[in-house]
């Protein structure tokens, strides 16, 4: 076999089977992830049905501009991730792949930075349950529940993005070392699936949290 050919684990017959198996594994993993977020979406739905006014009030305290910018940032990062997968699949050149991957990482970090800034603003405004909570309007307890869900859902999302940034950084390094070729780019595609999943979760979080204030 050529030197560049992917390493074949002993449970597989050929590299195509190995590739398909791993990609499928990632899909099953994402199904699990979806159910994890699903639990939180369910809790959100129940309480929003119970306390629609408090949730609208809580939503008015979120910064839609920052939320929208972050959405754009994440979508563009997904574009670069898709380009990275395409590049890895079609060419053996290291630099374009590494560039796409590092752009993805950069945008991911930018997202977390903006998110962190939003958290900081909430902290200053006394809108962080437990740490600094000074909200005293109507239905304060229910508004606090909204904020609690806001931090739980965006927090778990940010954690996923953080892991994604770590993975894509590792890919960037390995891409520079020439690890990925059109016949061995499985990790790039798997990480790509994960990245898009995290992106899509955000696409649902945005309207649920930011856009419900009527």
């Amino acid at each position: 076999m050529a030197e560049s050919a992917a390493h074949l684990d002993m449970q597989f017959e050929n590299t195509a089977q190995q590739h398909d198996t791993r990609i499928f594994g990632m899909w099953v993993f994402l199904a699990t992830e979806l159910m994890l977020f699903g639990g939180m979406f369910t809790i959100y739905t129940v309480y929003r049905a119970f306390y629609p006014n408090a949730f609208a009030e809580g939503s008015r305290h979120l910064d839609l501009t920052l939320g929208s910018i972050n959405t754009a940032v994440l979508i563009v990062s997904s574009l670069f991730m898709a380009l990275a997968v395409h590049t890895a699949r079609t060419s053996a050149r290291r630099l374009p792949l590494a560039l796409c991957l590092s752009a993805t990482v950069g945008l991911g970090i930018l997202f977390l930075g903006i998110k962190g800034y939003e958290y900081y603003l909430h902290y200053l405004n006394g809108e962080v349950p437990v740490l600094n909570w000074t909200y005293a309007g109507a239905q304060a307890g229910q508004v606090q529940l909204f904020f609690w869900l806001y931090f739980a859902m965006t927090g778990v999302h940010a954690l996923h993005l953080f892991i994604g940034i770590g993975l894509v950084s590792l890919l960037t390094l390995l891409a520079l070392l020439g690890r990925y070729k059109p016949d061995s780019y499985t990790p790039v595609e798997m990480t790509g699936l994960y990245w898009h999943f995290v992106d899509i979760i955000w696409i649902f979080l945005l309207p649920l949290l930011y856009l419900i204030a009527k």
């Binding site: 398909d20 198996t21 699990t32 994890l36 129940v46 349950p129 307890g141 606090q144 739980a152």
Partner: protein
């Protein structure tokens, strides 16, 4: 007596030696053996708690332990037995060992994830045991809010332990699903798969789709306790009923995690020892999937008295009745198989027959509980306790023991004492019924569960139950006494001691490290047994 040595041949057991060759192995067979050891230890701990309870219940007064300790005992028993024994036992031990062998693969799709799942199991078990030892938990295994957010016991540590062990199940389920899809031997189509593989597949679907919901729910309970944020606690503005919905969304399907693999094992054993084709193969296969799917839609039957709306309760009641259909399909197909076959009563077969009997009683009493009016009468009584032990212990453990004896020659290459095997199987069956049948009556007469003390008129049946538990305990200890010596003194088993079909029996016992010298090519369906007359199905 001197140990019998087998002729030297490379197997997964002797391929390399030393503790690290086990702790760092990625061989699914070795990981299965490590699971066997660790899950057995947890079974002993859970059994010890049950023993204490049965001794306490010997007399009406709470004299051996006080009520608070009793609460901690049944919580310990429940948490250990459900999350660390019943859920993983068949998939992680028998499934891990057999799935690649049954589909003609050299390993699971993700061997390193498989090893990781074992370490996660150990970590989860360690954290949970720490919680149970360092102060105990008194919520029952269900962690119901708002009590679980108010009790001073170690709820946070325990929920984190259960949270962790959930990921071990998720990884196992993921591995099984992908392996079944992608690593089947050439010619092994879906409808040529053994029923055990079908049932592992259905179980894995539940692992992957239900476990994360439990994980996030338990984390929220821990967070609620830590920060006093009202998610489930009504005094803080939360909804305790929501907790129950989320909890049972996992924990009802979890019952099928326990029973489906057992049904798979029983299907294999019945075909092998009735020496005939499994009757209605496709029905049995699809019934597994149907049970897994319906299992996701019936969780509300645990909440009939929790204050849900009557309409919701009616729907959940009807859906619960519907689960009886695929379950009954399985039982009827097994009996039809027995009817058409010529039966030999080896140890695994005794367990399989025991399973059918106990599962049928457990299932039928489940229908009582699915009926709204009856359920209100017996909720939180010993009737419920007896019912779910018939399913979970009578069902799942009989299946596990049957499977362990059926595949023991494959796992170890040795035969155990058939005589003692039969004695233990019969003892377990009698002991089980003696322990739990009286509890049906106790429950119907109104004895509530989870109390250390009870009115004296219940004493006779409780003594009966405790004496039954002694028999049951002896029955559970016996296999250790003849299975372990068989490792040194047992007859060599040969590749196929039962004359069974299935790819796992075509390779040597114990199998070589890479399972098959040459990957088999499959040309026929499963269960090609000669049968009594012409084959049917």
């Amino acid at each position: 007596m001197s140990a019998i040595t087998l002729p030297r041949r490379e197997t997964y057991l002797n391929a390399n030696y030393g503790i690290l060759s086990w702790l760092l192995t990625t061989d699914h067979k070795r990981i299965a053996v490590m699971y066997l050891v660790s899950i057995t230890l947890m079974f002993i701990l859970g059994g010890a708690a049950a023993t204490m309870m049965r001794i306490e219940l010997f007399t009406p007064a709470s004299d051996l332990v006080d009520a608070a300790t009793y609460n901690k005992l049944f919580t310990m028993h429940g948490i250990i037995m459900v999350f660390f024994f019943l859920v993983p036992v068949i998939p992680a031990i028998l499934g891990n060992f057999l799935l690649p062998l049954m589909i003609g693969a050299r390993d699971l799709a993700f061997p390193r994830l498989n090893l990781l799942s074992w370490y996660i199991y150990l970590l989860g078990a360690g954290v949970t045991l720490w919680a149970l030892i360092s102060g105990g938990v008194d919520t029952g295994w269900t962690f119901y809010t708002p009590y679980s957010t108010a009790t001073p016991t170690e709820v946070i540590t325990a929920t984190i332990g259960v949270f962790i062990v959930g990921f071990s199940s998720i990884l196992t389920g993921l591995n099984f699903i992908v392996t079944t899809h992608k690593l089947r031997a050439p010619g092994l189509t879906w409808f040529r798969l053994p029923i055990f593989v079908w049932s592992l597949y259905a179980t894995s679907l539940i692992f992957v789709l239900a476990t994360p919901v439990l994980a996030i729910t338990l984390i929220l309970v821990a967070v609620e306790r830590l920060f006093h944020i009202g998610i489930f606690d009504p005094t803080l503005g939360g909804d305790p009923l929501l907790y129950q919905h989320l909890f049972w969304f996992y924990s009802h399907p979890a019952v099928y995690i326990m029973i489906l693999p057992s049904m798979g094992v029983v299907s294999e054993i019945i075909a092998a020892f009735a020496h005939t084709r499994l009757f209605g193969y496709k029905f049995v296969a699809f019934a597994s999937i149907a049970i897994a799917v319906l299992g996701f839609l019936v969780w509300g039957h645990h909440m009939f008295v929790s204050g849900m709306s009557l309409h919701a309760a009616l729907m959940f009641s009807i859906l619960s009745y519907m689960v009886a259909i695929p379950s009954a399909i399985k039982v009827f197909n097994w009996t039809a198989t027995l009817y058409k076959g010529s039966i030999s009563y080896d140890t695994p077969m005794l367990y399989a027959l025991g399973f059918i009997g106990l599962f049928t009683i457990g299932g039928l009493t489940g229908l009582y509980l699915a009926a709204l009016a009856v359920d209100v009468h017996v909720t939180d009584t010993y009737f419920v306790v007896a019912h779910f032990h018939y399913i979970m212990v009578g069902g799942a453990i009989m299946g596990y023991f049957g499977g362990l004896h059926y595949w023991w020659p494959k796992i170890t290459g040795r035969m155990y004492s058939e005589k003692w095997g039969r004695v233990a199987a019969i003892l377990i069956f009698i002991g089980f019924n003696a322990t739990f049948f009286p509890q049906f009556i106790l429950g119907f007469e109104g004895m509530p569960r989870r109390y250390a003390a009870y009115p004296p008129e219940y004493q006779f049946l409780n003594i009966l139950s405790s004496l039954g538990a002694v028999l049951l305990g002896v029955g559970y200890i016996l296999p250790a006494l003849y299975l372990l010596p068989s490792l040194w003194f047992g007859k060599a088993a040969g590749a196929n001691p039962w004359n069974a079909t299935g790819l796992e029996w075509t390779t040597a016992s114990p199998p070589p490290p890479n399972n098959f010298d040459k990957i088999p090519i499959v040309t026929t369906g499963p269960y090609q047994y000669p049968g009594k007359k012409e084959t049917i199905g």
